[in-house]
Amino acid sequence: MSNKMMKIAVVIQLVIALAGGMLLLGQKMLQVKGSDTMVNLVQILAEKYMEKNPKQPIAVLGGGSGTGVTGMLNGTCEIANTSRDWKQKELDQAWEKGIKPRFFAVAIDGLSVIVNEKNPLTKLTMDQVGAIYRGEVKNWKAVGGPDMKVSLYGRQSNSGTYVFLMEHVLKNKPYSTDMKEMNGNAQIIEGVLADVGAIGYVGVGYIVDKETGKPMKGLKVLNINKDEKAEAFSPLDKAAVDSGAYPVSRPLWMATNGTPKGTAAGFLAWIVGPEGQKVVEAEGFYPVGGKLMEQNLKNLK
């Protein structure tokens, strides 16, 4: 390379570096991070919000609820999405760092237990789901299904859904080590679609085909009952989820550090407002009401 060319190359590199630096400084994006169950929903909420408020850019990342909490603790995001409550340890860590999390329930999820459509089973009790995921039940025959090995699909330990299920269904006992730990809801669905012996769990927003409003082809959503005597309900049954008759429903949370400000305040107010809640419903989740909503409005101020 001649001397002149070398000089030109150096100048070009400098210009690129400078331009890159300026771009990074100039754009102040609202960083939202966390739950994979919520990432599609929040992404769409952000897109709709940005259509109306083009000067308030929002970046949404998934990764898992744990990633969101860690992001807030380490200062890499302003809003943390979690599909579970924060753990006491996390709250303690936050307070230690001077972070005062405020929580907004943005949607209700009916956590759905899914199997392959070739599996004739239609319902399970909470205890049975727990026993299956703890690895105590290894054959579908034991819970009234066909003679077939159970093939477990779940999420990784940074997933809020993983923790939620462990606390509420597995009764705080560890998962079977035979569970295949997938990278996200979508991968669990891929696994269950291809595997006749599969069982998986995903947020209700993931199983509904947006166009028809019905569950995806190839999947079967199991009805769940609290115990043997109770009636079994489907997570697709809005009334059952709202009334709490469906036993594994949960709020989906977005958390800020203290009172939300700037873009975060506008975004959250819009989500819990009627327009945002309509999007929540269109995405297959359920809108927030009652006490949770009152709490949301209080926390905005």
């Binding site: 380490n74 093939s151 330990s157 940074n158 291809a194």
Partner: protein, 297 residues
């Protein structure tokens, strides 16, 4: 006079520049090792090294009591890597021998660049192939309900390490002096005998280097195994089981883990173990290579 001095100065500056470049890579390596050591060692304040290496269960987020044991992960990494090599070595050397000795030069001019392009396929894409193509195929032939297992990972890693093995083996086979094969043919050796008994032994140091590089690629690969092997934490008992390798465990958990906790340090400790393992592999390769070269002389 002045001009000459200027020239000398320039010469020296250039020398210093290249020396600095050479040293940089050493410093980077040492820096990484130091950082790894610095973040891994605190893990052993809470975990006993012996338990860490010999316990099968890894469950740092257990609601009962966190358990940190990486024996299953070491075994999984071993299983997947060995499987990959068993597939890739014969195929790789076979293709290299074909390209250097059998194929028409025109075929070689086309096939070799194509093989090298194979190396450029992103690992996520290979992993995806594992899920939609290799997985269902393995499920069918093994009679299991799914194909997310160690064998799937081995097949994919074999595919990923093939370009390295083929390309470097072919180079070293082609570098064997013409006189060797001419001598062999002159002594009435067939082409097969010439290839197997003369050329491959002569090129062995290059071929071993190629295999080691391929192995390095396989042992450190993360995304592909993460996607295709199912990531179950159980101790592997066979190729048709879902396994979680050391790399995928680090990738899965590092994004989530709260900083400066035992779990966080333990993940770096896994990285350190992996680093030491690859270091030993490279060291052995180096020693073997040197021995072989000495004998040659």
């Amino acid at each position: 006079m002045k001009r000459q001095r200027l020239r000398q100065l320039k010469e020296r500056a250039i020398k210093a520049f290249f020396l600095a470049n050479g040293l940089l890579s050493i410093f980077v390596l040492l820096g990484i090792f130091a950082l790894l050591l610095y973040t891994a060692v605190p893990a052993f304040r809470d975990i006993k090294i012996g338990e860490f290496l010999t316990t099968k269960l890894w469950d740092p987020t257990s609601p009962l009591k966190p358990v940190y044991g990486i024996l299953s992960q070491i075994m999984s990494t071993f299983l997947v890597t060995v499987g990959a090599l068993v597939i890739a070595i014969p195929v790789g050397i076979g293709v290299a021998a074909y390209l250097s000795d059998v194929a028409h030069w025109r075929v070689r001019e086309i096939v070799k660049p194509v093989v090298e392009i194979l190396a450029g396929i992103p690992s996520v894409v290979v992993g995806f192939l594992g899920i939609v193509l290799v997985g269902p195929f393995l499920a069918k032939i093994s009679g299991q309900s799914h194909g997310l297992n160690a064998l799937n990972g081995s097949i994919l890693l074999a595919i990923m390490s093939l370009p390295t093995i083929i390309s470097i083996s072919e180079d070293s086979l082609s570098a064997v002096p013409q006189a060797y094969s001419e001598a062999s043919l002159a002594l009435a050796g067939s082409r097969w005998q010439t290839l197997i008994r003369v050329k491959i032994p002569a090129a062995l140091s290059g071929i071993i280097a190629a295999v080691m590089l391929g192995m390095g690629r396989a042992i450190g690969e993360t995304m592909t195994v993460l996607m295709a092997t199912g990531n179950a934490r159980s101790f592997p008992t066979g190729f048709f089981q879902s396994v979680r390798t050391m790399t995928s465990n680090i990738a899965i958990e590092l994004g989530e883990v709260p900083y400066y906790t035992t779990h966080y340090y333990a993940l770096f400790a896994i990285g350190l173990v992996l680093f030491i393992m690859t270091f030993i592999v490279n060291l052995i390769a180096d020693v073997v290579l040197r021995k072989y070269q000495e004998r040659e002389l």
